[in-house]
Symmetry: C2
């Protein structure tokens, strides 16, 4: 049996990801255009680049680059259909980013709690 299983409180629960791994996801979300793209893709299904470019002031190529950034962060995925390239939202990474924020917020809450208790004494 491996030393890591059944040790003292063997932590079956997967340990929280190192938090810094979320940086690329946050960076990808840190742009208004990309945030808009994410919002659009979240609402509907898969959309083509041309469709995603429609409402914007920037060129199709610029949108393509933004989509590639999002794809690099694992936030979207593309699938080719005929001459079109459809993009759809990929929820996993965003979910993980959400958990990262919750962990930070939780840490802060704990610190406040410690402070409160210290003052109480």
């Amino acid at each position: 049996m491996s030393p890591r299983s059944r040790g003292k409180s063997a932590s079956i629960a997967p340990r929280p990801p190192p938090l810094q791994n979320s940086a690329p996801v946050f960076a990808a979300l840190g742009d208004e255009t990309r945030l808009r793209l994410i919002a659009v893709l979240c609402a509907g299904g898969a959309l083509s680049i041309a469709q995603l470019t429609a409402g914007t002031a920037i060129t199709r190529q610029a949108v393509t680059k933004h989509l590639q950034v999002l794809a690099g962060a694992g936030l979207v995925r593309d699938l080719k259909v005929g001459r079109e390239r459809l993009w759809e939202f990929e929820p996993q990474q965003l979910e993980q980013a959400r958990r990262s924020l919750e962990r930070i917020a939780g840490q802060w809450d704990q610190a406040l709690e410690r402070l409160r208790r210290a003052v109480e004494n």
Copy 2:
């Protein structure tokens, strides 16, 4: 009385912030160094620039710049004490970013739900 109060369902609840407003916060979080700074500041109280620089491979001035980016996003705040400049975490903006992610995730869930119901028929 103002025309906006007591209208038809006057929406006492603050309308959700436009989501794009969160882009600067995400951008600030989209860097490993800054994410680390946030984590450190979340755990303890207020720390000086020198203290925050201690464990890192970059210079004090680089840390200062990162802190200014975080301050620009409203994620940290500084207070001067003697010759030191202490930085502390400011939870509001991060809380808002968390809500943004939740709204996106919620929209996605709704879309999935609609899809599920459509398939059901």
